[in-house]
């Protein structure tokens, strides 16, 4: 071995077209057929919610006793309910409640639960033990019961609904964020960060966070589907946003009173929930595939 020889330059990996990894991930995400269907389904709901004032043929809370329980067709594409309100308009407006409640609840749960889980896993030891036992206590409540307690205590309105659903999702997100942190903090690049003088905050949020983000986001879209269902369930048992504001869960419950005469009253909002939940789940799967770095731009 000659010590004087200079190291030969190592050939670079074969030149690939210069595409940013983010764009590659987006391309991956979009080229997946499942994702495509998911996006279309969710887009339907989002467009309906955003443009509800322009798309809905009638006022969603305008009662019309003469046309009550009208079957689908004609002036009322999806029929009318027991008060003669147009079901299509109510579904479009109800999408707003579903989306706002589930999106803000899950965003809050990701931020609070994710931070708790990451810090807990990173610190470890007794702190981790106690924090996770508190989370286990939260997890031991069925999410609907926990939501029910909160709404019953605080009263049913939009903000309390968000708080209730967020509370039910904090513990799962703490667990989802903690597990990969436990493994990642043992990796040499975390030790390298400390050797390079990085603060714990930097190591945790600049180095560890991007590595767990995809898992958390995948779970986020899946849990958003659950949040949509929880919101609908709470509305169904009368603990949702107060009438006459249209909500999908509330519409299903109202429809139950006339299930034999006018089954569409429960079927349409049920289908709306199905479309949104299915779409969110499909997007979740697509996100997971797109954010895996090993699958990137091969």
């Amino acid at each position: 071995m000659s010590a004087t020889a200079t190291p030969a330059p190592v050939p670079a990996p074969a030149a690939a077209p210069q595409v940013s990894p983010l764009r590659r991930a987006v391309q991956r995400f979009l080229s997946n057929p499942t994702t495509g269907i998911g996006i279309v389904l969710c887009a339907l709901v989002v467009i309906g919610a955003v443009f509800a004032p322009y798309l809905s043929p009638h006022d969603p809370i305008d009662q019309n006793i003469i046309d009550r329980l009208a079957p689908p067709g004609g002036d009322f594409p999806l029929g009318t309910d027991a008060y003669g309100r147009d079901v299509l308009s109510r579904i479009l407006w109800g999408a707003r409640v579903s989306l706002i409640v589930s999106l803000s609840a899950i965003a809050a749960a990701i931020m609070i639960g994710g931070t708790i889980g990451m810090i807990s896993g990173y610190i470890g030891g007794r702190f981790d033990l106690i924090t996770m036992q508190v989370m286990d206590v939260l997890l031991s409540f069925p999410s609907l019961i926990l939501g029910l307690i909160v709404v019953a205590l605080l009263g049913p309105d939009l903000v309390n609904l968000v708080v209730a659903i967020a509370l039910t999702a904090i513990a799962p997100f703490a667990r989802i964020a903690r597990a990969p942190v436990l493994a990642l903090k043992e990796r040499a690049f975390v030790e390298a960060g400390r050797a390079l003088g990085f603060s714990h905050i930097r190591v945790l949020f600049v180095h560890i966070l991007p590595n767990i983000l995809s898992e958390v986001l995948v779970m986020g879209s899946l849990w958003m589907a659950t949040a949509v269902r929880t919101e609908a369930s709470l509305s169904f048992i009368g603990l949702g946003v107060k009438p006459p504001t249209p909500t999908w869960g509330g519409m299903m419950r109202d429809g139950f009173e006339n299930i034999l005469d006018a089954p569409w009253l429960s079927i349409w909002p049920g289908l709306a929930i199905l479309v949104l939940v299915l779409g969110l789940n499909m997007i979740g799967d697509g996100l997971r595939d797109a954010t895996d770095p090993k699958l990137r731009g091969e």
Partner: protein, 318 residues
């Protein structure tokens, strides 16, 4: 001139296991290690797996907190360092890891990995940092265009070069190389070793080179310490220590290391037994149960350190 002095370094790990009556065992990973490293010097630490050589490196870098001992870096007490002093010391002493696959963050580009330490230590930002990173890449033998790539696009040897460039980003004086080539293919090992040797010359870097490969240490290091069960049993200039060891363990280690001469095949004496657990080291000299020349007093008390010129060993027969 000496830049790093480590005296009587101790790191014990306690493990509590069992229910309902937990049993606490203490693993004496590092049990009183002293050495010093000079400016631009390559100091080797060799020993079997589990002898505590990596823990020594991590303890004096304070990646694990040592339990006892003094660590002095150019007059600065490393163990007492906080805040700005610790940050300054982090800049002076860097580490290159064994596993090039876990030492780079898979979500950060090579450029980000090299530029971030410069920003944190206020060395360079923006355009200047990128130029510096490009220069570092050239210095470790990689094209500057690779800065925008992710670690998974590189081979093990290339990743190790990136890890070296990252360590160099803060312009250190001393690099701890923790088995830097043992995870690499033999053909790549030589390239990386040559790179490290060149860097040592060009930048006057000091190295603490942790390895179990005597051949690599013999070629790379100026001085070497042989560790056994958390203690240094022999230390001195690399050529005499590895050619004619004083300590029986060092002799056994030398004999176990392959000799590139087929005519010597099978003529090597074998070491008896397994390395004992550091949780329950033998009484007296830790090596006496396996030692071919053990004396009666060896099982009673740990032998004192004896200096023999530039070298020294902890053995009654020296």
């Amino acid at each position: 001139m000496t830049i790093l002095t480590v005296e009587n370094l101790v790191k014990h790990f306690t493990v509590t296991k069992g229910f309902p009556r937990p049993v606490t065992t203490t693993v004496r990973a590092v049990d009183g290690v002293s050495f010093s490293v000079g400016e631009g010097e390559a100091f080797g630490i060799v020993g079997e797996s589990g002898c505590g050589k990596s823990t020594v490196a991590r303890a004096f870098l304070r990646l694990v907190e040592p339990d006892d001992g003094t660590i002095n870096y150019r007059g600065e007490d490393v163990r007492a360092a906080r805040g700005a002093t610790l940050t300054m010391l982090r800049r002076r002493m860097q580490i290159v890891f064994q596993d090039p696959y876990s030492s780079l963050n898979p979500r950060r580009t090579v450029g980000q990995a090299i530029i971030e330490p410069m920003r944190v230590h206020g060395i360079a930002t923006g355009r200047a940092a990128r130029d510096k990173a490009a220069a570092l890449m050239e210095e470790v033998g990689l094209p500057a265009a690779a800065l925008d790539r992710y670690p998974h696009e590189f081979s093990g040897g290339q990743r190790q070069r990136i890890g070296i460039a990252r360590a160099l980003a803060v312009e250190p004086e001393l690099i701890v190389a923790d088995e830097p080539v043992s995870a690499l293919d033999v053909s790549v090992q030589a390239q990386v070793l040559l790179l490290l040797k060149n860097l040592q010359r060009r930048r006057n870097l000091a190295f603490v080179f942790v390895s179990h490969d005597l051949g690599v240490v013999r070629w790379f290091c100026d001085r070497v310490a042989v560790m056994y069960l958390g203690r240094i049993v022999e230390e001195g200039p690399v050529a005499p220590v590895l050619a004619e060891p004083l300590h029986p363990y060092a002799r056994v280690l030398r004999d176990a290391s392959p000799v590139p001469d087929p005519s010597l095949r099978g003529a090597l004496p074998r070491i008896a037994g397994e390395i004992p657990s550091a949780a329950n080291p033998p009484s007296g000299c830790h090596f006496h149960p396996r030692c071919p020349v053990a004396q009666p007093e060896c099982s009673v008390s740990y032998p004192e350190w004896r200096d023999r010129g530039a070298r020294g060993a902890a053995c009654v027969l020296v």
